[in-house]
């Protein structure tokens, strides 16, 4: 059975995740073999998602770790001094 482009678009996400039923997956694959537009859409989507997931897209601000661990250190010291109480409430 032949499916149209817009049906293929509806399956793109499941196709990428490998969660289509074997039957539908085969239909989509058949369509992709002869449809350069849907192939390009699938390739570009996959490519864009790989880039999106790259660690380099969101980098921590300079000094983020240092500031975080310094603040944590104060909290840890307080927790040792005052047990598990909130340090803000400590005498």
């Amino acid at each position: 059975m032949v499916i149209e482009c817009k049906h293929v678009w509806a399956y793109i996400s499941d196709y990428l995740d490998g969660t289509l039923s074997p039957e539908i997956r085969e239909r989509v694959q058949k369509h992709l073999e002869h449809c350069e537009i849907c192939s390009a859409i699938l390739d570009s989507t996959r490519n864009i998602l790989i880039l999106t997931a790259d660690d380099r897209v969101f980098e921590l601000p300079i000094g983020f770790s240092e500031r975080l661990h310094a603040r944590l250190e104060r909290e840890l010291i307080n927790s040792e001094l005052w047990g598990n109480d909130d340090p803000d409430q400590a005498p």
Binding site: W9, S13, S44, T45, L49, A53, D55, V57, F58, E80
Partner: protein, 207 residues
Amino acid sequence: MSKHPNMQEEQRIIHQILAGDTQLFHELIRPHERTVYMMALSFVHNEADAEDIAQEAFLKAFRMLAAFRGEAKFGTWLISITLNEARSRIRRNKDASTESLDTTPEEEGHVSPALLRDWREIPSEELERHEVKLLLQHAIASLPAIYREVLLLRDVEELNTVEVAELLKISIPSVKVRLHRARLMMQKTLAPQWKQMNPKRRWFQWS
């Protein structure tokens, strides 16, 4: 994956922290700093606020550590604390540049992809270029919040569908629908932009 330590190792460290070796908390959270910051940033679009939310989330995690039961991964638990922190902050300063959490875009309706005739693979080395990173950041930021959070959790943090559904307290079909739309929106925004960005580059000969 090496960036996320295995659950048993984390459980062991957590037990030691609760037993009094609190300094280990520094080590426990190191692999999760980027994730927590990124999730915060996806809510507030402002580095200083995101950093503040991230710090608060880690402090809360330390104070609440005894309540962590280990049913979920530690990283997932941290994300849920971060989401709560970000949401309560947005509720507190409702004005400003933050977006509403109440918008529920309709679940119906289609997102169509950008139509292309061919696609030249963009190698990940291109991420060394500032403009490429900015395009991606803007595309993610411009997604409606309900799509953005699903995309980040599924495609960047690589949580599975069930974990995302539990974290966001939505159904599994909703996760799938939102993810599908988010992915197509990313393609629709970015594919044409890349076309214009630098047509002279070898890897990018557009017909």
